[in-house]
Amino acid sequence: MRRAVKLVAAAAALMMSAPLMHSASAQAQQPPIKIGAVLSVTGGASFLGDPEKKTLDIYVADINAKGGINGRKVEAIIYDDASDPNQARTFATRLIEQDKVDALLAGTSTASTMAIIPLAEENEIPLINFAGAVQAVSPVKKWNFKTPHTDLMACEKIFEDMKKRNLTKIAIISGADAFGKSMRDQCMTVNKKYGIEVLHEETYQPRDNDMTAQLTNIKNKAGVQAVLNPGFSQGPAIVTRNYKQLGIPYPLYQSHGVGTKQFIELATPAAAEGVRLPAAALLVADKLPDSDPQKKVVTDYKKTYEEKTGQPVSTFGGHMYDGLMILVEAMKRAGGPDKAKVRDEIEKTKNFMGTGGVVNMSPTDHLGLDLSAFRMLEIKNGDWTIVN
């Protein structure tokens, strides 16, 4: 199956690149600039990788239609790692050694990204990754950059909101997957800073379909004022349903990992009522005030993505949009795909308005986002509302 998918993906990549190369050679003598991508288009992380791939396809075509980068066409070579870090490393190696790409937009999950970063460092090739965890950008590596918010930022945003509401004693129920574990660990490093005390902790397996036992223990724990659920995919939806079933009266906080309309659907709007979570502005593009500097970029991206794919926009595709645009602008400023120059220019990215927030890179910060990139949302009547 995987093999077949790979073949199809490779065939698709060939088919996509063939017309590009053709028109490029017909139009200019210069070869196209090659951007290599390794994304989890299928497998467990496909809900992240699929919108990333679609976004890349749409915007590379768009860039070429507008004349490419300094007159040169862009060619995207995309491989699907099927959510397997081993394959991610293999494909990244192939991109570097055989396809001889000029830059990498690679790594959908934290696991895949961590497998690719050493290759980028070794081969001195600019890499922008799409992993969630803070390890994917800290400590800073010379050639590695990242666009999505980190789980540490999500923790801080949530704790900030809890503090505002005077909720200082909390319980945590986290998924036992990489995302849930990492975010839980990050939250435990900053809770003291916000005066938040964690009274009780529970976990669940990523594929569990009942969390009432864990939540009953949280319900019976004296003194708990709020509950935080770091996790993604369907787990948090079941937690939210069980939470409602047990009638637990405290506010429930979810992570940025559930930032899709599908979450509300699965959790059912009745159970999700009042749930708060930090998320990128993209999720509430229509509800942003016109004065918001991010309004234009997020509404434009949302419109384009939804028109071209017929699917609702997710923040994950937005991270790819940000990564591609940061890279393209750096290449324009560098006057071409020279790897060292492009790397330097990516690092000099300032006031870039992306779907994830304002990006200000520096030699000590290869992410460039601050807490203002996150909006605190509350689910009301089955829809997102912005909390101020």
Binding site: T42, R207, N209, D210, Q234, L246
Partner: protein, 290 residues
């Protein structure tokens, strides 16, 4: 006390799902000596087809019926296209074929449907009932009642009908069954159909609680297999008891000991039981067939 009741209800609901999967294993194992690892996929088909039929505007009872018929057809096809052509092969080969079939069905489901999780509303609303300080969803009661009905129906089928007796005969001694004029190939095929139906009904009933997606069957097959082994492979009552015990172990393990190790706790107990009683709780020692 309320938390004890809560853990009990949670455990029974989850256990009922495992019991249905384990029953499916048992039926096919009895008729053909094959452990059908595609059993979890029938549960997935039950839930997914119902969801997409409902999304297409078909009311729930008909959507469920379509799902049931789809699963039965796929169960029969699995037998005709994959198991029957290899009928001379050893059970191990046949088991490997079912693993292949399970991967194939997952792949097809991912393409025909999608890779997202889905759910539909419970049949009797989602307002939880309060029982002794614990809460239970009406759908949980429906799942338990459904499991009970299936067990009774299966028992009637096996003991009161000609087909059931033919199934029992095939299970006991295939050669002898053939000698008295039973079409054993047909009976084995039938067992696949009935197993698929049981799995699909399970899927239709539990999806409002557990959600479903294209690869939800993998884990269910694993847990259902553990339940069937615990109860004694080939014993229908053992399958049901085994399923409920695994569900309860998970729920009480998570509630009273540690949620991080709840699966480990369940599997440790299963190992311990099998160590003392290698035939499982209800298995007979004289299963040797010559």
């Amino acid at each position: 006390m309320p938390e004890f009741l809560q853990f009990l209800f949670s455990g029974l609901t989850i256990g009922a799902i495992y019991a249905l999967v384990a029953l499916g294993f048992t039926l096919i194992y009895n008729a053909s000596d094959v452990i059908n690892f595609a059993q979890g996929e029938f549960v997935m088909i039950g839930g997914m087809v119902t969801f997409f039929a409902m999304a297409a505007g078909i009311p729930l009872p008909f959507a469920a019926l379509i799902a049931l018929v789809t699963a039965i057809i796929i169960g029969l096809l699995l037998h005709v296209l994959a198991i029957e052509p290899a009928r001379g092969a050893s059970p191990v080969t046949l088991i490997i074929i079912t693993i292949g079939a399970s991967i194939f069905l997952r792949g097809v489901a991912a393409i025909v449907f999608d890779k997202n999780y889905h759910s539909y509303p419970g049949f009797a609303g989602s307002e939880p009932l309060q029982i002794g300080g614990a809460t239970v969803l009406p759908q949980s009661l429906i799942v338990l009642a459904g499991t009970l009905l299936i067990v009774v129906a299966l028992w009637l089928l096996m003991t009161r009908t000609m087909i059931g007796k033919a199934m029992t005969a095939t299970a006991t001694n295939r050669l002898a069954a053939r000698l008295v004029g039973i079409n054993t190939a047909l009976i084995v095929g039938l067992s696949f159909g009935v197993s698929a139906a049981i799995g699909a009904i399970g899927g239709i009933l539990v999806t409002p609680i557990t959600l479903t997606n294209y690869d939800v069957g993998t884990l269910l097959a694993l847990k259902g297999f553990a339940a069937a082994m615990l109860g004694g492979m080939g014993h229908p009552l053992g399958a049901v008891v085994g399923g409920l015990v695994v569900g309860l172990l998970e729920s009480f393990g998570a509630g009273y000991i540690s949620s991080a190790y709840k699966d480990a706790i369940a599997f440790l107990v299963i190992l311990a039981v099998l160590f003392v009683m290698p035939q499982g709780l209800f298995g007979r020692a004289d299963v040797e067939r010559v």
